[in-house]
């Protein structure tokens, strides 16, 4: 007993010492300051809000965190970032805003701070640093949370022997997860008819929901929006046209009612209500699908990598606005929030960690076993091009999809009609030189 007490005291002393070392810097630059943060209403923000009081206690700063719907974030940020003194001290930047923010000189480079504080950026998945850490070899962000995408499916349904027998009878082969996009479409349509549910839960709402989803189809077939060497528009390739065609076919023939007006919350709700078999969506929906208070499919949904070549990879990164009032305190917050302990706490609370070591942690995987699929998903994923007008690329692709899905325009024609808009987005872009 005395030995245990001694050990505990030793651990406490070590913790206090570690805390006081960590405390020295934040308290010196943050005491009495207020840091304003704009966050999206997602599980990672909830996880952050849970641990935030620790930073306030360490630093003496007050954290003012505003969590809003995704669609509001960009339009709230832009006026603030263009002002001489901004409203926000720390930004969460979506991966496809990164180029725009750098070109407009809205966020600060972090390399000097990283070097001065000896921050190890190799703990992050390299793919995430590429998609939302560095722009043209300069680090502007540290990855906050990732939104790996892939195939969510009802494992209880597809592992049912009766389902597998019917599958074999229909397709003439033993059950397997779809390996190509074409196979996915074929199986999803059939599964919908076989089960009486929607074969696939989809989010066709303009602009971000449909683009985030349909881009997976594009990347799955190896197509892209641009040739990433010449930056000429490339969506009009046969693979690009086929990807859009398959998406439109599934939305019309296998999706839940109202899918054309649905966003990813609707996809989650459709799955949670036991109304769909498949979805191409975010891995971060898992915690909500596993919540018995709101889900009828707890332990019934699994995640697998996107069939075909690649899925869309996105991430949010921490950055400091150029017009931040207290950039040193902002940096202290970023250091703290990305420290090992805090990163692990956020992950355990349902956050989507960006540091690779977390996915090897036995305790973490025991709590979130389905997250073991992250490594595979990230290995077969790529981001939207890092360009100054990637935000507008999303809008233009949404127009193409809207033209196809709502007006019934043939995909090849819709893409051809938008070719000039795609071309204009890269013209004169300093990041593509």
């Amino acid at each position: 007993m005395p030995r245990l007490i001694t050990t505990r005291l030793g651990v406490m002393a070590a913790s206090l010492l570690a805390a006081s070392t960590a405390l020295a810097d934040p308290a010196a630059v943050c005491k009495g300051k207020t840091l304003n943060l704009l966050l999206e209403t997602v599980p990672d923000s909830t996880a952050l809000i849970e641990v935030a009081p620790e930073f306030e206690a360490l630093s003496g700063a007050k954290l003012n965190m505003e969590a809003v719907n995704y669609s509001l974030m960009h339009e709230k940020l832009v006026p603030s970032l263009t002002a001489s003194s901004g409203s926000y001290d720390v930004l969460a930047v979506d991966s496809y805003w990164a180029g725009e923010f750098v070109t407009a000189n809205w966020i600060q480079p972090l390399d000097e701070r990283i070097a001065a504080d000896k921050i190890d950026t190799s703990v992050y998945y390299p793919a995430l640093m590429d998609v939302n850490g560095k722009v043209k070899d300069t680090t502007y962000m540290l990855p906050f949370w990732q939104y790996a995408m892939g195939m969510l499916y009802r494992k209880d349904i597809v592992e049912d022997p009766a389902f597998q027998a019917a599958y074999k009878e229909n397709f003439g082969r033993d059950w397997r997860l779809p390996e190509t996009l074409q196979e996915y479409a074929e199986v999803a349509k059939w599964a919908g008819q076989h089960t009486g549910k929607a074969g696939v839960a989809m989010s066709g709402q303009r602009a971000d929901p449909v683009v985030m989803e349909a881009t997976n189809y594009v990347f799955s077939l190896g197509a892209d929006f641009y040739d990433r060497e010449t930056w000429e528009p490339a969506l009009g390739s046969p693979e690009g046209i086929e990807a859009v065609t398959i998406y439109a076919d599934l939305l019309a023939n296998a999706a839940q009612p109202g899918a054309l007006g649905a966003n990813f919350d609707d996809v989650a709700n459709t799955l949670k209500q036991d109304k769909a078999v498949f979805a191409i969506s975010y891995l971060f929906l898992m915690p909500t699908l596993q919540d018995p208070k709101e889900s009828q499919v707890v332990d019934k949904v699994a995640f697998a990598r996107m069939p075909g070549e690649d899925s869309l990879l996105g991430a949010w990164g921490w950055s400091i606005p150029t017009n931040a009032a207290n950039p040193d305190c902002s940096w202290e917050f970023i250091k703290w929030v990305e420290s090992r302990d805090v990163a692990m706490k956020r992950a355990m609370a349902g956050g989507q960690a960006t540091q690779a070591w977390i996915y090897d942690d036995a305790e973490y995987l025991k709590l979130w076993p389905q997250m073991a699929a992250v490594g595979d998903a990230l290995a077969h994923a790529k981001g939207l091009p890092v360009m100054s007008r990637a935000t507008q690329l999303v809008e233009v692709f949404a127009e193409v999809m809207g033209d196809v899905l709502a007006n019934g325009t043939d995909p090849a024609t819709a893409i051809a009609n938008a070719e000039d808009k795609f071309a204009r987005l890269t013209r004169g872009d300093p990041l593509l030189k």
Partner: protein, 305 residues
């Protein structure tokens, strides 16, 4: 006791000399100057600035570009602008006509002398206009949700299959119109009801004594007397309908496709999504011009009547 003494006012004209030697006109100008300055700052300043922006190539990401004069206004010639203009016109005409008919019918009903509990009906009918469009939109988004919404559930009770509502290209605009009518009819109702209450009753009584039917009284007496109120009501509602943005933003984001995209939402998209401030300002000025023309035409009609 307090007594009020009446004094006779001296004869007065704008040109009358004052004891300080300064003209009344000078004082008028002096007292109006602050108002004129504030108006210039608050109204004219931003208008002129946005007009100046509309003459420039200005994408926020790249900063202020060259003076391009009226090049941004060439957007008017695009199919895209034609599309959003057509949606705006359809939406405006449909909501103004339907809301007017409903509001006028309800106003006539409320104006009946035999109606009991009038204040309660009026209060209930006023509730929608007291709610912000954002709250209204959120409420109807949930009600029209294809999977969770009460509307589809009610329809399913009578065997009607689930509808996509805001996500269905054939139903989206009609669903937006429905929500708009629910939200905005109260405004027309209160204006028309106030107009009816203020009408003199003598002509109505005279017509009734002369044996006119209720419809004849409405058509030949009430409507002509109410015409100025009707025109103002229609004018105000047409202007607000032309600028429809908040419900569109919250309900459909202009989708599916561009089925519900109005000119205001298009300007918002250009400005806040494409960050193309020059074009967004140009589209806003085109909309402003349309509203001004409409206002002038309606005011002229009112004057002639």
């Amino acid at each position: 006791m307090t007594s009020i003494s009446q004094t006779t006012r001296p004869a007065y004209s704008a040109a009358s000399p004052r004891s300080d030697g300064l003209s009344t006109g000078f004082y008028k100008l002096l007292f109006m100057t602050p108002t004129i300055l504030v108006l210039a700052l608050v109204v004219a300043g931003p208008l002129l600035y946005s007009f100046w922006l509309s003459l420039h190539e200005y994408i926020i990401t790249y900063g202020m570009g060259d003076l391009v004069w009226f090049e941004n206004y060439a957007v008017m010639m695009s199919d895209e602008f034609a599309g959003v203009s057509w949606v705006t016109m359809k939406l405006t005409v449909i909501v103004v006509v339907l809301e007017f008919l409903i509001a006028f019918g309800l106003a006539l009903l409320l104006n009946q002398s035999w109606l009991k509990f009038r204040e309660i009906y009026l209060l209930v009918l006023m509730l929608p206009i007291l709610m912000t469009p954002v709250a209204v939109a959120l409420m109807f988004r949930l009600m029209f949700n294809p999977n969770l919404g009460i509307i589809n559930w009610l329809l399913s009770l009578v065997g009607i299959p689930q509808q996509g509502w805001f996500g269905d290209p054939d139903l989206a605009l009609a669903t937006v119109v429905f929500v708009d009518i629910w939200n905005e009819t109260s405004l027309m109702l209160i204006m028309l009801y106030a107009g009816l209450k203020s009408l003199p009753q003598d002509p109505v009584e005279a017509a009734r004594i002369d044996g006119a039917s209720a419809f004849q009284i409405l058509w030949h007496v009430t409507l002509p007397m109410l015409k100025p109120v009707i025109l103002v009501t229609l004018l105000i509602r047409m202007i607000t309908a032309l600028k429809s943005y908040d419900l569109i933003y919250m309900l459909t984001q202009g989708g599916p496709g561009k089925v519900t995209e109005t000119i205001s939402f298009y300007a918002y998209r250009l400005g806040f999504r494409f960050l193309d401030i020059g074009q967004a300002a140009a589209v806003s000025f085109i909309l402003l011009a349309a509203v001004v023309v409409l206002t002038v035409v309606l005011l002229r009609i009112m004057r002639e009547n």
